[in-house]
Symmetry: C2
Subunit: 207 residues, 2 copies
DNA sequence: AGTTTATACTAATACTATTAGGATAAACTA
DNA sequence: TAGTTTATCCTAATAGTATTAGTATAAACT
């Protein structure tokens, strides 16, 4: 086996650097060929080591996926915080949230697939990762629900949030499967966020 | 190789029956373990033959996926025609279209995944299959655009259709990844179609 | 009755994940 | 400094995957 959590600082540093390189290379592969296309062999080829050597750092391919799943939700949370922070009105907040959703997918397509589309056969997030993902999603819900005092609708706040997320997800998923290379605001589905917001505004803003 | 398209009726019939069984079994496997989990070996195990025997009917695993991709779009088209046929108002038509979208996914999750979420690494639909899928999608677009004379909006008809499809897709995708076993109208996202329709109605119906 | 051939098979090749066990060199310790 | 420990790599092996080549058989055709 490998770790005995009394590594020297230098070894610790090396080890972390190696793990970082593995994860970065894994993301490259997934980005090029789809989230489910990651293999230990291809990873080893690019890192110029033999496949078994990877088992010093991760105990299975699925554990690599799990680390990336966690990374995805961590980055996602940070991304949202930064993106939404200076919203004024609820329309503003919702616009930024939808944009943030799509921008994250465009910038991190491999993590978006892994975290939100589950295309990898056999991959089930670990309990720990699942907790992180649930926590981060609840953050977002709380955030969005907070602004709903200005909204006029007979839906429950949770339902309104779910509906907005479904719209954001639908536009993003279709954008990613049609024109993933186009930036925010461009393309058949990527350009429809304003239209979706207009819909919400017409239906929900207080007269 | 195998075919020489001068098969006796009986052999022809047998062959078609075998192919049907292969595709049905493939769908079973995909339904149980995810669309990307189909393997020649598992298929052969369930059919009680050796893996190479399958190559008498399909020249590769990807060709099986391709046949199912075509089947998916064929069934999808039929499903829509039947589901939408007696719509009266545009609200009606859109409601039925959204319901049809989700019902198809619930009833054929493996085909929905394969056709609309592309989770299979390395699978690219053949030119023929792609044409079928494009044709069927255009049917749906024509159908939905037809009713838009009653709608009040500053969007292009195509954009309105795209937006509605994105909403249907978003609700369906989230329903399928959260509570795929629940029927239409139930569950966190499955119950939100009326809310989405209300949104469209409030924003678009002529006063 | 004899020939053709669709359909199955076995055997082999080249991938994949993973485990076991050994070599090495860096780091720790006496 | 010399000796020990161990993190990290390796090779070799097992078992599962897709696919191809070549062969046997029995159903169908002549």
């Amino acid at each position: 086996m490998s770790t005995k959590n009394t590594l020297s600082p230098r070894r610790q540093r090396n080890r972390e650097r190696t793990i970082q390189t593995i994860l970065d290379t894994a993301r490259d592969i997934m980005r090029e060929n789809g989230a489910a296309a990651l293999t230990i062999h291809e990873l080893a080829r690019r890192l110029e080591i033999r496949p078994p050597s990877l088992y010093n750092y991760f105990s299975s391919l699925m554990e690599i996926y799990d680390a990336l799943f966690q990374l995805g939700f961590t980055l996602w949370d940070k991304h949202f915080e930064e993106y939404i922070q200076n919203a004024q009105t609820w329309q503003d907040e919702i616009r930024l949230a939808m944009e943030a959703y799509m921008v994250f997918a465009i910038q991190n397509p491999e993590l978006f697939q892994l975290c939100f589309e589950r295309p990898v056969p056999g991959f089930v997030p670990s309990e720990e990762s699942l907790q992180i993902s649930i926590g981060n999603l609840e953050n977002l819900y709380a955030r969005i629900s907070k602004v709903q005092t200005d909204i006029q609708s007979d839906l429950e706040p949770k339902q309104m949030t779910d509906l907005m997320i479904a719209i954001a997800h639908g536009l993003t998923a279709l954008h990613m499967s049609n024109e993933p290379q186009l930036p925010l605001g461009q393309g058949r589905f990527g350009s429809l966020i304003p239209a979706a917001l207009d819909l919400l505004d017409k239906a929900w803003s207080k007269k």
